[in-house]
């Protein structure tokens, strides 16, 4: 392998050529590579003597590694196995950031650098489901309770305190999840109910088409007249 710095100077200077430096190899990885804003993550790797055979990384210990991320600079010293590691905190701004590590080189080794990327993104919104609780069959005059419960789609934990739109026929009502809405069944027929959650920073919206509450009547028969005449 030729020495790029020393090999080229062929001119007739009387000085001794500088002693040739060994090439180095720097590895880098971020863990985790995708983080939420404000979350800490580590960046680490190893520094090796690249003049050695490819199949065995000969570590370089005690070297200073300078790591830059989003305008911050941190340094680490390689351990006996060549390993190094620093910790950063992810910024609030979402995006893909480059983390660059560099070894400046010394009298023995050439400098080198390596980079990787870290993706900063907010946690994805969770899905939720709406549970509409209503009686399937009531009678005219009955007081009907309609309860809207919001649940985490995965954990089925009840989510309280979110505003949910409850649709009753053509009307819509804003109620808090977990609360009940009360109506009186006035006429025989059906009452169409449904509910919608618009979603917020934590949860995606959800919709429950609901269904029909059947309103039956047990009629009263009032006899107003019983009469007779010739047939």
């Amino acid at each position: 392998m030729s020495d790029p710095e020393g090999g080229g100077g062929g001119g007739g200077g009387g000085e001794d050529p500088p002693p040739s430096k060994k090439p180095t190899k720097l590895t880098i990885a971020a863990n985790p590579s995708t983080v939420e804003p404000g979350q800490t993550f580590s960046v680490g790797g190893g520094l090796f003597d690249a003049s050695q055979s490819d199949w065995w990384n000969y570590p370089i210990a005690g070297a200073t590694i300078t790591v830059t991320f989003n305008g911050q600079t941190k340094t680490a010293t390689t351990a006996s196995n060549g390993g190094w590691s620093v910790v950063f905190t992810a910024p609030s701004q979402e995006g893909t950031y480059t983390v660059r590590a560099s070894f400046a080189g010394n009298s023995q080794y050439e400098g080198t650098s390596a980079s990787t990327t870290v993706r900063v993104q907010r946690p994805s919104k969770r899905n939720c489901i709406i549970e509409l609780i209503y009686p399937e069959k009531v009678h005219v005059g009955d007081i009907v309770n309609i309860t809207v419960i919001l649940r985490d789609a995965e954990t089925h934990q009840e989510i309280k305190g979110k505003m949910v739109t409850l649709y009753i026929e053509a009307d819509s009502h804003q109620i808090e999840s977990g609360a009940s809405f009360t109506i009186q069944a006035r006429y025989p027929g059906t009452i169409d109910v449904g509910a919608r959650f618009e979603g917020d920073e934590q949860y995606n919206g959800a919709y429950d088409p609901g269904g029909l509450i059947e309103v039956w009547t047990r009629p009263s028969i009032e006899i107003t007249h019983v009469g007779c005449g010739e047939g």
Binding site: V140, V215, I223, G231
Partner: protein
């Protein structure tokens, strides 16, 4: 049974008794029953089927109007048993209207109306045997009575709706117009419409010659 229990039973009976008094219906008459079907809030139920039932037999069927009202009718057969009868006004379950089954009862009394028609001689005399003949509508067998001033003076039997009653004119009857009432004692749940036969009691005077003298 104790007296208190009897009182309780009386009140219970009153409590479940229908609001309307029993309606008297003659055989052959048509009973009409009108009413209104309402829901629990008192609103009329329109378009609902209403049936008049005798037990499980449907006597008539109709549909309520927009104001929930209905009229059912039934003609009492001429051979229907006499006495009290309970009819049922029934609203069957109607899923398309979200109407559940409901019923109420109507109490009626079936009566027979017996109409007597009779005729007799226009002129009678003391000692005559007078025969009143006639027919009875609504009664095939039984008895008829001939009354004068509230006293029964003769009875006879009805056979095949016909009758013939004879009596002897008493000697103490005064001359002049006489009204005879022909009626029947009837029976339970039988109304009798009697009739009157007008006649006149005439005198056939006897002429007693007390003296025949010469000139």
């Amino acid at each position: 049974m104790k007296k208190r229990d009897l009182l309780a039973l009386l009140f219970l009976t009153l409590a479940v008794a229908p609001a309307l008094a029993q309606t008297k219906v003659y055989r052959g008459d048509t009973v009409t029953i009108s009413g209104v079907v309402r829901d629990e809030l008192g609103n009329p139920v329109a378009g609902a089927t209403v049936q008049l039932l005798d037990g499980t037999t449907v006597l008539d069927s109709t549909t309520t109007t927009s104001d929930g009202s209905f009229t059912l009718s039934w003609t009492v057969p001429s051979d229907h048993p006499l006495g009290p009868k309970t009819l049922t006004v029934y609203v069957p379950e109607q899923p398309s209207l979200y109407v559940e089954a409901s019923s109420t009862s109507v109490s009626i009394e079936v009566w027979a109306l017996v109409v007597v028609s009779a005729s007799g001689p226009q002129r009678i005399h003391r000692g005559d045997t007078v025969t009143i003949t006639g027919s009875v509508q609504g009664m095939n067998s039984g008895t008829v009575e001939v009354q004068c001033n509230g006293n029964t003076i003769a009875t006879g039997s009805v056979s095949g709706s016909q009758f013939s009653v004879s009596f002897t004119v008493p000697n103490d009857w005064q001359k002049g117009p006489i009204t005879l009432t022909v009626t029947s004692p009837g029976g339970s749940y039988v109304d009798v419409q009697g009739t009157q036969v007008s006649t006149e009691l005439w005198i056939r005077p006897t002429i007693e010659v007390t003296e025949v003298s010469g000139g």
